[in-house]
């Protein structure tokens, strides 16, 4: 079931094209990574989804019909650049933002108390924002983003500025929201977090969507038929045996300490043949495909090596 569909969206500014015929489809309940180098057009796309700016061409659908002004309340957006009023009190400010999202003051206070307790920042309710640490301010911003229980959550680099412990806390909360039925869009450069959290991605480079799909499918699709074999037995004999059948790749230092080989096959069809040969010669402990990390795919894709 698809929640958000972006159809052939183009956005031009005076000097450059920010988005060029970008389409994507975000399934309901997914955690969707929106990747791309700086200046690729991610933020513009997010702003179009948020109705902050309008596309020059193309359309955006939410829940099957074209985006309307009121859909704002179904979306929660945590921007990359974010701030709070420094001279306002924390609680008062959180209530204010909640009211801008359409919550009543009473409802806002009830929900905020739950979140403040959960994040352990209740003692800061009556403090001025200027007294908060950066991490604490970001917790407040996160709470404000999710407080009105939106169907669609958009996080732009949510972990930047967090220490590992708080980043983990935040990640768990995001996954919890996802389990609760929310659809999450992640815009990030942090590929490790993409592999950990996202199930789908779209890679935008130079204003275009250059790669889109399920994370596992993409990684497998970009596999280069490279396999790693861990074994017990005569390494030299095995190497001699495999020469000619497949390409032996240089090992990293760690692997050299063990009995391991990394090989590239001509095609996927060779797997059975090679594995049979290895099995004959040595005792196989482990035989697995080496699939590229999202980081490698990202770099290769951006550098045009795909």
């Amino acid at each position: 079931m698809e929640l958000l569909r972006v159809e052939n969206v183009t956005k031009r500014y005076a000097a450059h094209t920010a988005l060029d015929d970008v389409s994507l489809s975000i399934p309901e309940g997914s955690v969707y990574g929106l990747l791309g180098p700086n200046g690729a057009g991610k933020t513009t796309l997010i702003r179009i989804i948020n109705r902050i700016t309008a596309p020059d061409a193309g359309r955006v659908f939410l829940g099957g019909r074209e985006l309307r002004p009121d859909d704002i309340y179904r979306i929660g957006y945590l921007p990359e650049e974010r701030g709070l009023y420094k001279k306002m009190r924390v609680g008062e400010q959180a209530v204010y933002f909640a009211r801008l999202k359409g919550l009543s003051r009473r409802e806002a206070v009830v929900r905020l108390r739950v979140w403040f307790e959960k994040f352990g920042i209740m003692p800061w309710w009556d403090k001025k924002v200027a007294e908060l640490s950066k991490g604490m301010a970001q917790k407040v911003q996160f709470i404000v983003t999710v407080l009105h229980r939106p169907q669609l959550l958009i996080f732009d680099e949510p972990f930047s500025g967090f220490d590992p412990i708080n980043a983990n806390l935040l990640k768990d909360e995001i996954l919890e929201l996802s389990r609760g039925g929310a659809t999450v869009i992640f815009s990030t450069h942090n590929m490790a977090s993409v592999e950990e959290i996202c199930d789908h991605i779209t890679l935008i480079n130079k204003s275009r969507n250059i790669l889109t799909g399920r994370v596992e499918e993409i990684r497998h699709a970009h596999g280069d038929n490279i396999y790693r074999i861990d074994f017990a037995g005569d390494k030299a004999a095995l190497e001699a045996d495999l020469t000619g059948r497949c390409q032996l790749l240089p090992l990293d230092e760690e692997s050299q300490l063990y009995s391991s080989l990394v090989v590239r096959l001509a095609s996927r069809d060779d797997v059975r043949g090679v594995l049979a040969r290895v099995n004959e010669r040595v005792e196989v402990r482990n035989f697995r495909e080496v699939i590229p990390s999202m980081n490698d795919i990202f770099i290769n894709a951006v550098n045009g090596k795909l």
Partner: protein, 441 residues
């Protein structure tokens, strides 16, 4: 839903600014200062420092000294001793020594005053006046006219002018050119001050929101237009609140002060009718200019026009200028960068203050008329004309023009604003800002 949001924005702006220390201090201090300025002169003249000023008089003519009489704190002490004997250094028991020449009648400049402290104009003029009157009286006596004092009394005629302005309905209204001029300047300046002060507050608020990136969090839930209007309206309400508090405080403090320090004047003001009738006999000897001013001040129709006009023109002028200030604020990252872009805003405001003076002197002239029609100057110039009386159609036309251009300006400003708030780094030129108006969003 939309109203709730813009209400929340207005509420935040209002609460934030009203709670600021500068607002609280300004709101209380200003009326105290105004009333203080009103009361201080009365207080200063009524409270006399004690101690006499003894002036020793050496009258070589022998004609003047006997007729000199003490005046205020000055007391004259004729002496026969020579000057050298009296004029010893460092005397603190006397104020000074007056030496009147032997032939003072034919040589009236032969009059010398030695003082041990600073000499004051008040003392000097009292001495010259008395000596002059005594000599003149002596000369008059030389003509040997019978009943001279009685003739002089009969000749003396105090002339006073009571000005009334005939308005369109044929009714008469007390008018005082002095008061009209005073209120023209006061209210013209008040509009200028308020527009500038609160417009700058909008500018600072927008810059602060932009540079602290609070805007980024809000733009997804609120339209930039609502953000801008919420801020402008919220701060505008702060200004109106401050003005109303000022007026109430000034009225209360002023009444109290008048009753305390100038009882008879205040009572007289109360006794006067709204439309000028005859002068009550007990006030016959009060300065007629002050009387006319008092009559106008207590004229409710006059006051209504003044305050109604102020609210209408301040609000219109503020809205117009605040929209421009907001547009400039959205385009820059800090207050320093705003200075240059502010020029198109401050020039018409400053121009208004220059034109204000010529409008006060010739409130019906072409300069006053045209500048009170142009929306950028009309809030100040029309306020300078209203105390003198302005035809209703002129006020109506100028208000329509003012509010229409406010609507147009908000439209333009909101276009600039929504582009500007996402522009960081380079400070744009005015030309670039004009291009933003055409951006499609």
């Amino acid at each position: 839903m939309g109203n709730g949001r813009i209400g929340a924005i207005i509420g935040r702006e209002f609460n934030y600014h009203v709670r600021r220390r500068s607002f609280i201090i300004g709101t209380i201090l200003m009326p105290l200062l105004m009333v203080g300025l009103m009361v201080a002169p009365i207080l200063l003249t009524s409270v006399r420092t004690d101690g006499e000023k003894v002036v020793v008089v050496i009258d070589r003519s022998g004609q003047i000294a006997p007729q000199l009489h003490g005046e205020g704190r000055i007391r004259f002490e004729p002496t026969d001793r020579p000057l050298e004997e009296v004029k010893t250094p460092g005397r603190s028991d006397i104020y000074g020594i007056l030496v009147i020449g032997a032939d003072i009648e034919s040589r009236p400049s032969d009059l010398t005053l030695y003082t041990y402290g600073p000499s004051t104009p008040e003392t000097e003029s009292a001495i010259t006046r008395q000596v002059r009157e005594i000599i003149e009286a002596g000369k008059l006596r030389a003509y040997e006219i019978d009943n001279l004092p009685q003739i002089m009394r009969e000749i003396e005629t105090p002339v006073s002018l009571q000005a009334f302005r005939v308005d369109e309905t044929g009714g008469e209204r007390a008018s005082s050119s002095l008061l009209s001029m005073g209120s023209a300047y006061l209210f013209g300046f008040l509009v200028y001050l308020f527009v500038f002060m609160y417009g700058a507050m909008v500018l600072q608020g927008v810059i602060e929101e932009k540079s602290s990136k609070v805007l980024e969090i809000m733009v997804s839930s609120v339209r930039p237009f609502e953000l801008m209007m919420g801020k402008i309206v919220g701060i505008g309400l702060v200004a109106v609140t401050q003005f109303l508090i000022w007026m109430v405080l000034i009225a209360v403090l002023g009444t109290v002060a008048l009753h305390l320090f100038a009882g008879p004047m205040a009572a007289g003001a109360g006794a006067l009718g709204v439309v000028g009738g005859g002068v009550p006999p007990e006030l016959a000897n009060v300065d007629p200019k002050a009387l006319a001013a008092l009559r106008s001040v207590t004229d409710l129709a006059f006051l209504g026009k003044l305050f109604g006009g102020f609210i209408a023109y301040f609000v219109g002028g503020y809205l117009l200028y605040a929209a421009m200030f907001a547009a400039v604020g959205s385009a820059v990252d800090n207050v320093q960068d705003a200075q240059q872009l502010q020029v198109p805003i401050t020039v018409p405001l400053l121009l208004s203050m220059i034109v204000l003076f010529s409008a006060m002197n010739d409130p019906q002239g072409p300069i006053a008329f045209w500048f009170s029609m142009i929306p950028f100057t009309s809030p100040i110039i029309m306020m300078a004309r209203i105390p003198y009386g302005v035809p209703a159609w002129e006020v109506a036309l100028s208000l329509v023009l003012l509010y229409a251009s406010f609507v147009a300006m908000v439209w333009v400003a909101s276009k600039i604003y929504r582009v500007g708030i996402f522009m960081y780094g380079k400070k744009p030129t005015l030309r670039e800002m004009c291009k933003w108006i055409k951006y499609k969003y």
